[in-house]
């Protein structure tokens, strides 16, 4: 048993739902107890889909157990076929139905429906959402992809693999990369799972190579297609300017086209924005990166090499890709944190004291609590992370979006100085207007937003016998430090004083500590 407050990923059948909901002409019959229909709202509320996911649940109850859950399942399959007339049915079980071992695949096939039935077994007590999505996509491709006589065409042709429903910016990434491939003179054969019908999967083999956008979802499928149809697959995920250029070169080599034109005419503002003088102030900002493996690896590269930040910590909840993230972390001399326990992440963020957190909805909470700016780079996400505007992460436009969304939460350029100049003005009160409220003070209610463990640590420091005191002059000097670094200055100074047994902090202690901690 694992004590879990928040979970980064849902159960594996939610991954299967993401695949089914992204596709067309496929209906998923899920053997599941009453209540599991909550998953519909992920799609209808968080992603704001205007249609219900193509999923029928058996919603069995206690009175059905032991008597006729198998019959209930068959009825649900039959009714779903009659009502929705899909090209194919996907069948499986959620965690509870897995325990009652009704064999959805066998039961569905026994009905002899006139459409193919694909059964997916998703071990809910071992695996999670992304694995479930990958496995489902793989099973569907295995079931439907056929050897084909290649269509003759002057232009090279590829498939795009990986985007699903409820993916972080998948819709916009797909548009961006489709456009990029078009510019390179490459045709797109099939995009899957998003937008594909089972009949589209049948003609996957009619392409020269595969573009894998999200290895978490399409990695094993791409490997299968390489083995079965000899289609090579891309390895580079085009997030960031550098990665997009590398991706273009990789694709050009696979397609046998010249990439020079696309590389010369990228319309990317990001490199110039990063070089403009205002961005000087981004130099060395300490960032912490956590999320799924693909986005973390990409974000760390952008942070370090394209924005001039310093990556002080990174990690992933994608255990399947732990090796890749560990390798990437070595580039920045940090050790990757591989965990799906959000408390571990919180502890690490608190101890590393970064100036910017790049993460998921979970890290947004952590950062908010610690008063650190945060930008979203990965699922899990909130309704606001499905923006109305076009906001890809991939390609050159994606890099522009990333520049804006990572830099805006920070204090920009000259503002740092202006704050220092004007802070004594009576008209000046808090943060500059484009930023939100200042870090929250720790409330005193019983529902402390700070985890008990951290809270206790703080209290212990403050109340410890011999905790350093502050002279009036030192307090006054501390007050002159801009508010957004004041908390850190206080903590560092106190730590410095404690380490040296200094009982009373003077103005000199502040500057000794500053010099000691300056990086």
């Amino acid at each position: 048993m694992q004590l879990t407050l928040w979970t980064y990923e849902g159960p594996p059948h939610v991954g299967a739902m993401r695949v089914a909901t992204g596709m067309k002409g496929l209906h998923y019959v899920l053997h599941a107890p009453q209540g599991d229909t909550y998953a519909d709202l992920l799609f209808t509320m968080i992603e704001r889909r205007s249609e219900r996911p193509p999923v029928t649940y058996t919603t069995f109850q206690a009175r059905d157990l032991g008597s006729d859950t198998a019959d209930l399942f068959q009825t649900a399959v039959r009714d779903s076929y009659e009502r929705f007339k899909p090209e194919a049915l996907l069948v499986g079980a959620s965690c509870t139905a897995e325990l009652i071992q009704d064999d959805p695949g066998g039961l569905a096939r026994a009905l002899n429906l006139p459409v193919p039935v694909v059964a997916v077994e998703l071990p809910a007590y071992q695996k999670k959402e992304n694995w479930g999505a990958a496995e489902t996509f793989y099973r569907l491709v295995r079931a439907f992809a056929q050897p084909v006589e290649r269509t003759k065409s002057a232009r090279p042709r590829c498939n795009i693999l990986g985007p699903t429903a409820l993916g972080f910016r998948h819709r916009d990434d797909l548009r961006e990369i489709s456009g990029l491939l078009g510019q390179m003179g490459i045709d797109i054969n099939v995009t899957a799972p998003l937008t594909a019908a089972p009949s589209d999967l049948a003609r996957l083999a009619d392409a020269d190579f595969n573009v894998v956008l999200y290895p978490e979802i399409a990695g094993i499928t791409a490997t299968y297609l390489t083995k079965t149809f000899g289609q090579p697959a891309t390895k580079i995920v085009p997030i960031g300017v550098g990665a997009t250029r590398d991706f273009i070169a990789e694709v050009a080599a696979l397609a046998g086209v010249d990439a020079a034109g696309v590389l010369a005419d990228s319309h990317s503002h990001m490199p110039w924005y990063a070089r403009s003088v205002d961005s000087n102030y981004l130099t060395g900002k300490r960032v912490y990166v956590f999320g799924d493996a693909t986005h973390v690896i990409a974000a760390a590269r952008i942070a370090q090499t394209e924005l001039g930040f310093t990556v002080v910590g990174m990690g992933t909840y994608s255990r399947e890709f732990a090796r890749e993230v560990r390798e990437a972390a070595k580039l920045y001399d940090v050790e990757a944190l591989i965990t799906d326990d959000y408390l571990d992440v919180e502890e690490q963020v608190a101890s590393l004291n970064p100036e910017l957190v790049l993460g998921s909805q979970m890290e947004r909470h952590i950062a908010k609590r610690l008063g650190v700016p945060c930008a979203m780079i990965s699922a899990p996400m909130h309704v606001q992370d499905f923006p109305a505007r076009y906001a890809p992460q991939m390609g050159f436009e994606g890099a522009n979006v990333i520049f804006d969304s990572w830099v805006h939460p920070l204090m920009m350029g000259l503002e740092e100085h202006l704050l220092g100049m004007f802070r004594e003005d009576t008209e000046f009160s808090h943060a500059p207007s484009h930023l939100g409220a200042a870090p929250q003070a720790a409330p005193s209610s019983t529902e402390s937003p700070v985890p008990a463990a951290l809270h206790e640590a703080d209290v212990a420091v403050l109340d410890a016998p011999g905790a350093p005191g502050w002279t009036a002059d030192a307090e006054k000097e501390l007050g002159k430090i801009p508010f957004f670094v004041r908390g850190k200055a206080r903590r560092n100074t106190e730590r410095f004083a404690r380490d040296r047994g200094v009982a009373l902090i003077t103005v000199d202690t502040i500057y000794d500590a500053k010099s000691h901690f300056s990086r």
């Binding site: 209540g35 909550y38 519909d40 205007s50 058996t58 157990l65 965690c95 007590y125």
Partner: protein, 429 residues
């Protein structure tokens, strides 16, 4: 619409004996675990530990976007394959998890072990675990258990199961103790405080609420205790309270002006409050409540409403919409119809109202589309798809998260139904 005369409407006009369409098929409803979202806010020193799967954890954090709380007082002990394969003893694992939890949260005084579908199916005995852990952690922490599993509970039945688990341990009053009133069902603090003021004005001072806001302050009960149910989904809790000698006061539920008056009247009658005293106590709040509701009625009168089953609040809500907002009821679905507790409500429903119990969501959607109601009350999974089809919807879960009971919330309740229509009238996109 505040007149007491309407409350005693002739029974023949109501729905007491009306036929009910019973359906079986896909139920688009939450399971009982969802109740944790409001229960953990209500009992301020209680912690809810779901013993379940990743699905359970995902449900609770997704169901209401409750991640606004940094570290809420609920968590899931996720069963993994080692527990299932017998490689580890599930009880030892549970003890380990609970020990870690209590170390992290020493301020917790009451821990609920909440059963789920998987824990029920593998027959993990949480009541024995609760007893064992209670002994170990006593006196600092009391440990209780209940099931919020989807195979046994639908949405609000989780609250019923939770409150029912509190009943056996409630302190006992004797036959010599003065009569007291117990209000049963989780209400917003602000609603409780308003009700307490009303009872005080009526001269009732011995009033308590189940659940109390603190684990150590749960109310005492005995043969002189009368209870008013504040929620229509508390079948098991009421049954256990009756077993301990508590008398249930039959009444409609305190939704809308009429329901609130009738509900308070039931207490007034039982405790011998004189009618002038009663009327004086409710005069001001019922008047301002009626006036506020009347302002919403103008735009809602004559509009049709269709309710999908969700919280068991449907029957009282339909009564409110029909009688106080003059809306037309197309179909009122409820997951479970408790005829005894809803007897007074059914009497007040317009005769001929179509009632349905249980659900086959696809067929119900067919009926809904055919009826083209002006407003549909439904869960979050159905709301946006129906809106996209051009049908205005009200998310039913908001009716659980928002204070809606009592005089001063009656207009807020009306507003919840009016807002989708107001919004549609405004939009030109």
């Amino acid at each position: 619409m505040t007149g007491l005369a309407e409350i005693s409407a002739p029974k023949a006009a109501g729905c007491a004996d009306a036929p009910v369409l019973r359906e079986r098929g896909q139920r688009e409803v939450f399971c009982g675990l969802t109740g944790i979202i409001w229960l953990h806010r209500k009992i301020q020193d209680a912690f809810f530990l779901v013993v379940g799967s990743r699905t359970c954890a995902h449900l609770i954090q997704s169901a209401a976007g409750v991640m606004i709380f940094a570290e809420p007082r609920f968590a899931t002990a996720i069963i993994d394959e080692r527990d299932l394969a017998g490689l580890s003893d599930a009880n030892d694992e549970l003890d380990r998890v609970v020990t870690r939890l209590i170390q992290r949260r020493p301020e917790i005084n009451l821990l609920f072990l909440v059963g789920s579908c998987p824990s029920e199916v593998i027959k993990l005995d949480l009541s024995r675990a609760a007893q064992r852990l209670s002994r170990q952690l006593s006196p600092a922490v009391r440990v209780l258990n209940y099931s919020g599993s989807g195979i046994e509970t639908t949405f609000t039945q989780g609250e019923d199961a939770c409150l029912a688990s509190l009943v056996p341990d409630l302190p006992a009053l004797s036959a010599q103790d003065a009569p007291n009133l117990l209000v049963v069902g989780a209400l917003a603090d602000v609603v409780e405080d308003q009700m307490l003021r009303l009872f005080t004005a009526m001269g009732l001072h011995n009033v308590s609420f189940l659940p109390a806001r603190k684990a150590g302050a749960m109310p005492a009960i005995g043969p002189n205790t009368h209870m008013l149910l504040a929620q229509p989904f508390l079948a098991e809790t009421a049954r256990l309270l009756e077993q301990r000698g508590v008398t249930r006061l039959p009444a409609p539920f305190p939704l809308g002006i009429e329901g609130t008056t009738a509900w308070l009247q039931a207490a007034a009658t039982a405790f011998g409050v004189s009618q002038p005293t009663f009327l004086a106590a409710i005069a001001a709040p019922s008047k301002r409540g009626s006036e506020a509701v009347a302002r919403v009625r103008d735009m809602m009168a004559g509009k049709s409403v269709f309710m999908f089953p969700d919280s068991q609040l449907e029957i009282p809500l339909a009564r409110f919409l029909a009688r106080e907002l003059d809306m037309t009821l197309v179909e009122i679905g409820t997951p479970y119809l408790h005829r005894q507790h809803l007897a007074d409500e059914l009497d007040l429903l317009p005769a001929g109202t179509m009632l349905s119990e249980g659900q086959d969501v696809e067929r119900q959607l067919d009926r809904c589309r055919a009826a083209r109601p002006d407003l549909v009350v439904c869960g979050l999974g159905l709301a946006n798809p129906l809106e996209a089809e051009g049908i205005a919807t009200k998310w039913s879960i908001e009716l659980l998260f928002t204070p809606i009971q009592g005089y001063d919330q009656a207009a807020d309740l009306a507003e919840l139904f009016a807002r989708p229509l107001v919004r549609r009238a405004k939009l030109r996109v």
